[in-house]
Amino acid sequence: MSRSLLRTVATPLAAVVFGLLIGAVLILSQNASPITAYSALVVGGLGDADSLLRTLQKATPLIFGGLAVAFAFKAGMFNIGGQGQLLVGAVFAAGVGFGVDGLPMVVHLPAALVAGALAGAVWGGIAGALKATTGAHEVIVTIMLNFVAGNLTDWLSANPWKDNSGNNIVARTPLVEDSATIPTLGAVPVGFVLALVVAAACWFVLERTTYGFEVRSVGHNRNAAQYSGIKVGWIMASTMAVAGMLAGLGGAVESLGVDGRFEAGVNVGLGFEGITIALLARANPLGVIPAALLVGLMEAGASRMQFKAGVAPELIDVIQALILFFVAAPIIIRWVLRMRADNSEQLQLGAGWGRS
């Protein structure tokens, strides 16, 4: 048991080390010190309670975004639409958060979260429903919906839902009411706890329920699933709706727990990073958690790294790409570490692409 656990952890760990080593070469090429840079990175992400809080805050939407991609992967669909789903979730959660007052927290906060989740579900569900009914490729539709969501949420926050307090000129909504704000306990944002619970729930649904079995069957072989009586269209549509809901929840937690409002341009890129997270986690809902924590830590520490060592924060992107590469190509790590091959390790997500 412990031996197999070690094997599971060894590859990702080695991938991180290799990624950092190559990153160190890049740092040296800029005449900076890798040790100063990396220690600043770690201190910036873990050094004190504030840093830890920021790491957890950064990891939270990444967990949701990663789940949104991973869940769709299980049904053999590629959800590039996490960004759009997250944005509509964020803006509608904020809308309920500031637009309704006088409710007790036990009603208001869940209502705002549900609004975000529903908005995300609708956004993802459009792509799923079109795929199921007309065969429209979910990759095209989700890419297009990302752009539409960006424009829609920008417009909402700049026009009907704009914050008109003082002389505000920023495209943003008013602050959400206290009764819709997700609290923080010490250094732990409650939204992060929610993300952990949702990740566990995704794992349970996929691995332990009939619905999850049907989802995986469709992902494994659509024709066989059809043949065995599974309603493939329904599974595809509902899976995309669930994926959208997960991303939408991520957006809701950002608005209600981190930013306190929706602001145009603030959540940029969060949804796309979900793809990286899901791939790092090999589409495993529980694996999404450590992957998100790792990336969250690096992003939380990046400013301090530039401040202390003068290294541009983009280095983080390069290191992420390297880690992803080494995780996905365990053959290289095995070669260096002389580990024996494990056939179960090779993962195929791309196979999901070619089924329509």
């Binding site: 890049l26 800029q30 590629f78 590039i80 079109l130 007309t134 065969g135 429209a136 490729h137 990759v139 095209i140 539709v141 890419i143 297009m144 919906l145 752009f147 539409v148 424009n151 829609l152 920008d154 417009w155 700049a158 026009n159 793809i275 990286t276 791939l279 541009a312 983009e314 280095l315 983080i316 992107d317 390069v318 290191i319 992420q320 790409a321 390297l322 992803l324 590469f325 996905a328 190509a329 053959i331 290289i332 090779q346 993962l347 195929q348 997500l349 791309g350 196979a351 999901g352 692409w353 070619g354 089924r355 329509s356």
Partner: protein
């Protein structure tokens, strides 16, 4: 293509010509401006789409086109500004595209890395590297590629300006459309390529080296995306800036699928998308509608979703059967 589909195509093409001419007689400069903008916006998309198409026809998904555009644009711009030669810059961009294509092949075919991951690695790495090594002091002293009039053809009203007074890489793209079409559907290479995308096992038994051909195709396809990067930096814009590809690599994917993985289909899709983009610009320039730019800006994307859904009802879009799967020699 069935006879019925052919008939619809002819009817559609005739309609487009009639409508374009009507608008041209009503307002020449604006119609010309919109259609020229259409061709321009379509060029990059169709180059990316052809890159994706050759990969997918051989069974390899390439979602790294965005990264290939960006890093190639960076290479093209850097070399062009260092040497003062647009041609050398273009070659460098294509070269970088080939290298990235080779890297994708090495990962996806050689190391059997999941193809989606391989593409994502390229995207993130390109974004990070180009930002990290960006040097603001570089510029193109000699300017970017300029229009070349094709003799008397360029004097034809409307069509002349739109198609025959273009910069060189746009002409090259049009030539490549024909080349890729002929290669894919009329050559032995094309037949083999489609075979390894549909039935790699069967192709193997008749003596095609599946892995070698996939390696070759994905690398060559990278050259097309590399040309796209050169086009972006040296012909469309004339400089490099961070993240300047702006999601067009992903739009190229959509264009490729929408165009049913054929060069002319993709070009039609790219022109359609370019047209909606130019049209929404024109609506703003003329203040046609008194609605916020955010809504006008949704036009290309909403129309594309509707058209994709409708065309899905008319005829199914089928992916190559072995797409995305690692091939293990039996």
């Amino acid at each position: 293509m069935t006879t019925r589909q052919k008939q619809m195509l002819y009817v559609g093409a005739t309609l487009i010509v009639v409508i374009a001419w009507t608008f041209y007689t009503a307002d020449g400069p604006q119609t010309t401006a919109v259609l020229a903008g259409t061709v321009r916006a379509a060029t990059l998309l169709v180059l990316g789409a052809m890159c994706g198409m050759i990969g997918e026809r051989s069974g390899v998904v390439n979602i790294g086109i965005e990264g290939q555009f960006l890093l190639s644009a960076f290479a093209a711009f850097t070399i062009a500004s260092m040497t003062g030669s647009l041609f050398l810059g273009t070659v460098a961009g294509v070269g970088m595209g080939l290298i990235m294509g080779w890297m994708l092949a090495a990962m996806a075919v050689g190391l059997k890395v999941d193809q989606i991951i391989a593409g994502t690695v390229l995207n993130i790495a390109a974004l990070g590297l180009t930002s990290f090594f960006y040097d603001r002091s570089r510029s193109l002293g000699m300017g970017k590629y300029t229009n070349i009039d094709l003799g008397p053809l360029a004097d034809i009203p409307l069509v002349g300006t739109v198609f025959f007074s273009r910069p060189p890489l746009t002409y090259l793209t049009m030539v490549l459309l024909v080349v890729v079409h002929v290669a894919l559907f009329r050559s032995v290479w094309g037949m083999r390529t489609r075979a390894i995308g549909e039935h790699p096992g069967a192709a193997d038994t008749v003596g095609i080296d599946v892995l070698k051909l996939r390696y070759f195709n994905v690398t060559i396809a990278g050259g097309l995306a590399g040309l796209g990067g050169s086009y972006l930096a040296l012909e469309a814009v004339g400089t490099f800036s961070r993240a300047m590809s702006g999601g067009r690599g992903f739009l190229a994917l959509a264009v490729m699928i929408f165009g049913r993985r054929t060069p002319f289909g993709a070009y039609a899709a790219a022109l359609f998308f370019g047209f909606t983009t130019a049209l929404q610009n024109q609506f703003q320039l003329n203040s046609t509608f008194d609605i916020p730019p955010q809504f006008v800006g949704m036009l290309p994307f909403v129309v594309t979703i509707i058209v994709v859904a409708l065309s899905g009802l008319i005829g199914s879009m089928r992916d190559p059967a072995a797409l995305g799967q690692v091939y293990e020699k039996g």
